[in-house]
Amino acid sequence: MATDIQISIVGSAGDGTIAAGEILRNALAGMGYKVISFDVYPPEIRGFGKCIARMRITTEQAYSLKHKSDVMVSLDDSHAIPHANEVRDCGAVIYEQGSIVRLPEGGHMSAHVGPGQLPYPLPIRELSEKSTGANRSRNIVVLGFIAGLFNLPAEGFRKAIGKKFRNKAAAAEASEAAFKAGLDYAAKTFKLDDVSFGPPVSSVVAGATVEMINGNAAIARGALDAGIDTFFGYPITPATSIMERLANEMPKRGGRLLQTEDEISAISAVVGAGFTGARAATSTSGPGLSLMAEMLGMGVIGEVPGVVFVSQRGGPSTGMPTKTEQSDLHMAVYGGHGDAPRIVIAPTNVDGCYRCAGKAFEMAEAYQTPVIVLIDLYLSNRYETVVFPARPPFEADLNRKPGKQAAGAQYKRYALTEDHVSPRAVPGDKGGMHVVTGLEHNELGRPNDSAELHTAMSRKRHEKLKRALKHPDFTQFKRFGDEGPVDVGVISWGSNFGECLEAMLKVRAEGIRCAAMKVVMLSPFPTEAVAAFMADCQEVLVPELNYQGQFANLLQAHVARPVTRLNRVSGEPMKVEEIIEEIRRLAGSKAAQKAA
């Protein structure tokens, strides 16, 4: 039986909601299920903000979360009540049966469990207190209950709990007791919901490893596997954990990481490190990217490799730092002064984060330019089970070294070549002495602002990037769904593509001819492929998480053809149902036109 179950745990900061989610998804991934998960945190570090841990557990690969969960756990009714209607009919709502304070009418979850849903009131607090002497382990009691109710192997949970508390003996012991209390309570509970887990299906090839990992961790791992040498960064939500992870790992591999005083320093140091030949990167979010704009221009004119990982959040300015949005695309592709082309790639899932991170270093080096890897909070914090190949799929060195210079010849750092990429020496290379400045220059790198040279160098900087469109072993775009002509084609990018894919699969099951295309390479733009796809589509829908339709703007700058935009700025991932609705509408109007 195929498994497709979504569980959400809703609580207040301090309830252990996110920790419970982490243990649950690790346990389930360890059992062999595919898991995709996205948590919601409050802006406060600790306090009373709402936390939601949400995960979808499947046997077949899923691409997004579902709008309705099959199971919801409330660790705090005041936060969970507004989400009660996000549980499907015949799904389970698990909540604290009692209360230690008087409640006004409607203040208890029992008032909000819909007639189609199944209520599971539990003495969560009491079980925690009886088993551990404190109420802190309520989250673990609930995990025990879930394991028991859905007949999941307790051993898998115990392992995940052990891992979580491996350095905290007391917490591990209390968790074990609380888990057992929940498990025992489930044994006495009559199961009424229709949620059931089938056996997991393992499809891992020999040598590969499967890990439950989020987008930021995947970025860090991709950077490490690509041999990152130096990292300079300044913390900013939601990108911070990229830097945190690298800070743990890089020193072990001889790398260096420095927290700079701000983003301007970080990017400046990256450009400096790139100049020396290091594989260098930084990570930031929208506001940080704005600060980096000037030095990115320097990287472009100096043709210095460097990688910038950008995780977008709700903007502008401080905006909504803990909400997701895809509204820095204009900034990433166009932001900056002068004609400053750069490579911008946007993965669509966690596996893509790993691949794009590694490939970004290759491209930066191969085309001697800054590369931006553009993700967003939804992808940064989204966990997926990722299969990592036995050997990292990245090239260690794509530097085009200058050959031996002819006697008396001067090394031309910016030689105008056929493919527009010049041989690149780094400090220390014999005969490769050169100067890099922010000034327009001649082939030697000497300042020169003649009309001819500025034209030639501008062309060089733009043209060389086009080669990135054929960068080896890199998925620039991909079409899914029906082949040939379709009623509706959905084109999207970044984290939002998973929802588009789910929507496409659902409408196809309804008989609508539909295909979806993901575009990973945003700059330079794969115009030919996208235009060919659009030529197959009667209607083109472009769903994205920003107000202006930034990707649709980019698309239309390259392919002159009207598209239907679907834009949401709710701070949350787009609902698959909304996309389905729009596809149906477009397919319907097409059908009506045909009939007319």
Binding site: S99, R102, P104, E105, P115, P119, F190
Partner: protein
């Protein structure tokens, strides 16, 4: 749920036949009112007379529901499941739920029914018995009785005997340990009893008269290699079966009404219009004793049809009516021409 501001709030305690019928009638009579049902049950309303079907293999609760979930949404009836009423304050018109939530009402209908009565001397064996008063209990009981398994039925009221009919029909073995409550709630004379017992035996039920065996001494777990349960009688005789199921009639669920201001005898006392001694508080179904002018006493009226009629009447009276109670079914137990027992309780629809 959209309900007019300042609309009356009618609260019904209980989602059995009486409560559910009352909610339906209230919604019909007062389209703008807010109607809330409070219940212990985790399921929406189902007819309990359907429960024997679990022994015919029906184990999906959805088949049992009297109305689908949409019915409650469409009729704007709020159902608060797993919500135990801990107390009622008639003067403040407030209900205290066990989880410390307070609910205010304009009118209250108590339709909390009754729960399986267990004689005092047997209460210590409760964990070893399988009651049969709810869907979950029914499925649990059916789960422990194998095909052609043996059920020992203690007491045997009309609910138990109805189940016995199904058990015999599904080729289970049934031994009835008969006693005073065997034909509850029918009142059966000494003269009628032997004929009725004989009819049960003819039906295929093995009958042991508890009194003849000196009463039940204990209920135990069956020893290794034997059936799951042993019932030991005082005279030393014993019975082995897969499950022991108690059926001793019902005792009204009224404990949460103590201190509410409503008069209670065994059930909640109501006048023929089903109003309690407190203004605005009504009662219907197995929980109430209705004043009978004919009998000059408060008395219970059992049976599905009666209970449903009570729910309907109480609701009509809450909505402004003043009609008196008229029983909806006869209470006589017969042996039909075919030699089978016939009870008005078994005429479900």
């Amino acid at each position: 749920m959209a309900t007019a501001k300042n609309a009356r709030h009618h609260v019904v305690i209980g989602s059995g036949v009486a409560g559910s019928q009352a909610a339906e009638t209230l919604r019909e009579r007062e389209p703008d009112a807010r109607v809330t049902i409070l219940t212990l049950s985790s399921l929406l309303f189902y007819n309990r007379y359907d429960l024997p079907k679990v022994f015919r293999g029906h184990r999906d609760w959805r088949e049992f529901l009297a109305y689908p979930a949409e019915y409650y949404k469409d009729h704007r009836i709020e159902v608060r499941r797993c919500s135990r009423v801990a107390g009622v304050d008639g003067s403040r018109r407030a209900i205290a739920l066990e989880h410390k939530e307070e609910i205010r009402f304009d009118t209250l209908l108590v339709a909390s029914g009754g729960r399986g009565y267990i004689p005092e001397e047997l209460t210590e064996y409760r964990p070893l018995m399988h009651p049969f008063s709810s869907y979950t209990e029914a499925v649990t009981a059916a789960g422990v009785v194998p095909e052609r398994g043996h059920v020992i039925m203690l007491g045997g009221d009309m609910i138990g005997l109805d189940l016995a009919r199904t058990l015999v029909d599904t080729r289970h073995r049934v031994t009835l340990v008969a006693g005073q409550q065997t034909f509850w709630p029918h009142e059966v004379s000494e003269d009628e009893r032997p004929g009725l017992i004989a009819a049960l035996e003819k039906m295929g039920v093995e009958v042991v008269e508890a009194a003849d065996a000196g009463g039940i001494a204990s209920i135990e777990k069956g020893a290794r290699g034997l059936s799951a349960r042993r019932v030991l009688f005082r005279d030393g005789t014993e019975l082995y079966g897969d499950a022991v199921m108690p059926f001793f009639g019902l005792s009204p669920s009224v404990e949460f009404m103590l201190g509410s201001g409503v008069d209670i005898e065994r059930g909640l006392l109501v006048n023929p219009a089903l109003r309690t001694t407190s203004e605005g508080i009504y009662a219907a179904g197995d929980v109430c004793q209705i004043w009978s002018d004919a009998d000059k006493r408060y008395r219970f009226f059992y049976g599905w049809k009666n209970v449903r009629a009570m729910g309907d009447l109480a609701a009509r009276n809450i909505a402004g009516g003043a009609e008196p109670w008229v029983p909806a079914q006869d209470e006589k137990l017969h042996i039909g021409a075919d030699g089978k027992i016939q009870s008005p309780f078994w005429e479900y629809e």
